[in-house]
Amino acid sequence: MAAPAMADSASPSPTGTAAPTVLRVGMTSGIDNPNIFAVTSVAEWQAVVMQYDMLMRFGDKDLTAVPSLATGCDANADRRVWTCHLQPGLKWSDGKPLTSKDVAFSYKFVMDKQFDYFSGYFPEGTTFQTPDDLTLVWKSPTPTNGPTVPAWSYVVPEHIWGKYANADAKTIRAVSALPNVGSGPYVMTAANPGQNWTFTRNPNFWGPKPAYDSIEFQLFTNQDAMVQALKNGQIDIADGIEGSLLPAVSAIPNVAVQKVVADSWINLAFNFGGRPTANALPALQDIRVRKAIEMAIDKQQIVDKVYPGAASPGETIIRPLSAYWHLTVPKDKLIPYDPAAANAMLDQAGYTMGSDGVRIDPKTGKPLKIRMPVSDDTPGSTQAGQLVASFLKKIGIAVTVQPVTAGKMYDLQQAGDFDAYIWYWSGDPDPNYQLSAFDSSACPGLSDGCWKDPTYDAMFAKQQATLDPAARKVITDEMQQYVYDQVPNIVLIYPETIEAYRTDKVAGLTAVPEGNGYLMPSYVYTSMVNAHPVQADTGTTPTTSGSTGIPPWVWAVVAVVVIALGVLMVRRRRGEADREELD
């Protein structure tokens, strides 16, 4: 930060004793609207996580449900009725009491207004009752694990949003007023659109008091600039750094790098032609061809070339961030990288090599040519696609890679107009959502290529009917292994997220899930509550420290040059005027 800025920042803190402590975070996405119901970007989700609470929340250890606003929830025998008990004494950031009525209102509100990204946990017909301020009764038309998934839906204050009970979703999304009223450790109090957003500590937060007075998100539309800002101390944390910048970030003194385990997976999906307008390649219906493709792809090479230092080869459809549910395939069940074996397998299956190096499908007599769109919202998809094409060429399969926008990709998926594609999956840490995308009922909606398999469908139904996490984990593992064996798609890559922070400025950041999880509030705000300035006690380091600004000698040189130029001009002008008078 430059010298003039430091002079401006000398506003007194409320107590007048110490300068307010600020945690500055560089983000690669911004907050277009502080409204929780307009959330789309990464920064907006993190803002929501800091400001609002869930009834039960994702646990710090492995993202399985732990108490939050509710101390716990009990189910009746058939799991249609759940009773949740709220902590006493909860308050909103504006001081009004937070009761079970707020919870019931929030859930009903997102159902009524079809805010589907929050209401997916409440099947139609779900009702909520509040016998008293601390009790919520959740009645579901079907057996449910509802509150203990946990339901990824936030509790908002009825006294703020109640007035929109009769408004439509568009009107509600257009609401854009600050400060926000929430129950989390910080609430947004100021926004400079397109640049920075300030979250101030919530004085009524029910948990331990956070150390920072405020947290600032600053938008960087240029990743290199964000790294420079971390280097010169303009920011304390940089979120969402590209893998290619990893060497540059690691070289900065006093900077620690956190590689967050994959929260998404890059998907090479095959089309099975289940949609009415679908246009799929028959050879890909043959599991031997799909398996050969899996064997021919060198995932490690894709990691090294496209995502250096920031990814690992993919395996199963539940991503590693869902630490409790993710299955690591046992060694003896792995489909190994072995192009020679893949070639032998295709030879044996009767796919004879044509003269142009492309195999011929014995059933149709047509060459194995795959149209493979790749989506531009999936980082590295084009390069990964080209590598896949080069690998498959070696086993006699020709691939045409077509980079498309995410919007176009959606059209192709919905029309079933592709042979294979590269896109990505992410979503709920609970496995149910991801598993549902492979169920027959997901066609034509969520499903990639309309793969339909009765064995899988039966496992999915069983999984949905199981409450006990340990028993559910067993079925979920079987399902992941089954999908891996059947190869309806290939889990290409687990891309990682890179965060970095200044160890000389901030301490206490806590990874969630434990170990290799997020330091930023991606699922829970624990890290932001635990974070504290390194030299909080001494009071000698102003929080605006960082870059030193322009040193005095530069100002001196500038001043001398300006004065010299001025003197020169005045003298010349005088001389000219004298001479012109002679004309």
């Binding site: 789309t40 439509d168 659109p193 397109g194 405020s214 938008l219 240029n222 959606y410 059209d411 530069v554």
Partner: protein, 318 residues
């Protein structure tokens, strides 16, 4: 100057505006993809919910119907709401206007002043050290990609030396005072001015060389005027005319923003807004920024036309 002339020019300007308004509308809709579908993956919407969203934004209506609605609402000052964020487009665009005017306005002004002064001297002493030096520097800067130039300045002055912030318009906690904004503004303005200075220099220099061989310059010299007096009072004013056109038109482009520089320096201007809206196919936002920047160019052209009419009465006949 006759009112008829002004009316004719203004009429053409309005017609152009309508044409742009229409192109604006259809251009973005023939882009591949569906903006609502883009929301789907991040928000996990079902197909029914997508239809619901399309209804809300009127995207389920036939295209001619959408076009009429668009014209009606635009002329009543309603540019709609952003598909992505749900907020009012007029206020979104308004919030981005000032940073852009500040950055591109000051940058263009500095480039114009420096370019004109240098061009004047260089053209006057063609082939001299100052001419060759500034000619090569200008060509070099003019042909340097501004994104690369910005990155180099950023790495040097923000990263290595730490004199300036690495991006943004102001620091949240410093309240965005003049000093704070200036320190954020310095590097992007420098990049922009360096990138733009070449064009003003080259036009001014060429026009100066042209003027220098005119008869009235010879006459001024014959009168015995000193060289600086001839340059300043006889050559420069005449050589400025074509450069003024360039300057006026350049200011017309101010509201278009500087997409590359704004992206490099995370500057929250209209250029950055455009870039982000293109990525998310946010039709209402795109339409609004394109409308604004085209309108600014049309108005600048109109001003230039009228100014011409005032300066040179012969133009009215054309």
């Amino acid at each position: 100057m006759s009112l008829k002339y002004i009316a004719r020019k203004a009429g053409w300007a309005l017609l152009t505006l309508w044409f742009i308004l229409s192109v604006n509308f259809f251009l973005f809709r023939i882009m591949p993809g569906d903006p609502v579908a883009l929301l789907a993956r991040s928000q996990r919407l079902s197909p029914e919910a997508l239809d619901h969203q399309r209804q809300l934004f009127g995207l389920d209506q036939p295209l001619p119907q959408q076009y009429l609605t668009y014209l009606r609402e635009t002329f009543s000052g309603n540019l709609g709401v952003s598909i992505l964020s749900g907020t009012d487009v007029v206020s979104m665009v308004a919030a981005r206007m000032w940073p852009t005017i500040l950055l591109v306005g000051i940058g263009t002004l500095i480039a114009a002043v420096v370019g004109v002064l240098l061009g004047m001297r260089a053209g006057w002493r063609r082939g001299s050290g100052i001419d060759n030096g500034s000619m090569y520097t200008s060509l070099l800067l003019y042909s340097t990609p501004e994104g690369w130039l910005g990155m180099m300045l950023l790495i040097l002055f923000a990263g290595a030396l730490g004199w300036f912030p690495a991006g943004g318009y102001s620091s949240a906690s410093s309240g965005g005072g003049a000093g704070d904004v200036s320190s954020h503004l310095a590097l992007p303005v420098l990049t922009l001015a360096l990138g733009y200075v070449g064009q003003f220099f080259i036009v001014m220099r060429a026009s100066m060389i042209d003027v220098k061989s005119q008869d009235y310059i010879r006459l001024a010299r014959a009168k015995g005027l000193t060289d600086p007096a001839v340059r300043r009072h006889h050559a420069a004013p005449n050589a400025l005319l074509p450069t003024i056109t360039l300057i006026v038109l350049s200011f017309g482009f101010v509201l278009g923003g500087a997409i590359v520089i704004e992206t490099v320096f995370s500057w929250p201007g209209l250029g950055l807004l455009t870039y982000q809206a293109i990525q998310t196919l946010d039709y209402p936002v795109l339409q609004a920024v394109f409308l604004l920047s085209s309108a600014a160019v049309i108005v600048a052209n109109l001003i230039a036309d009228i100014a011409y009419g005032l300066l040179d009465p012969r133009i009215e006949q054309v």
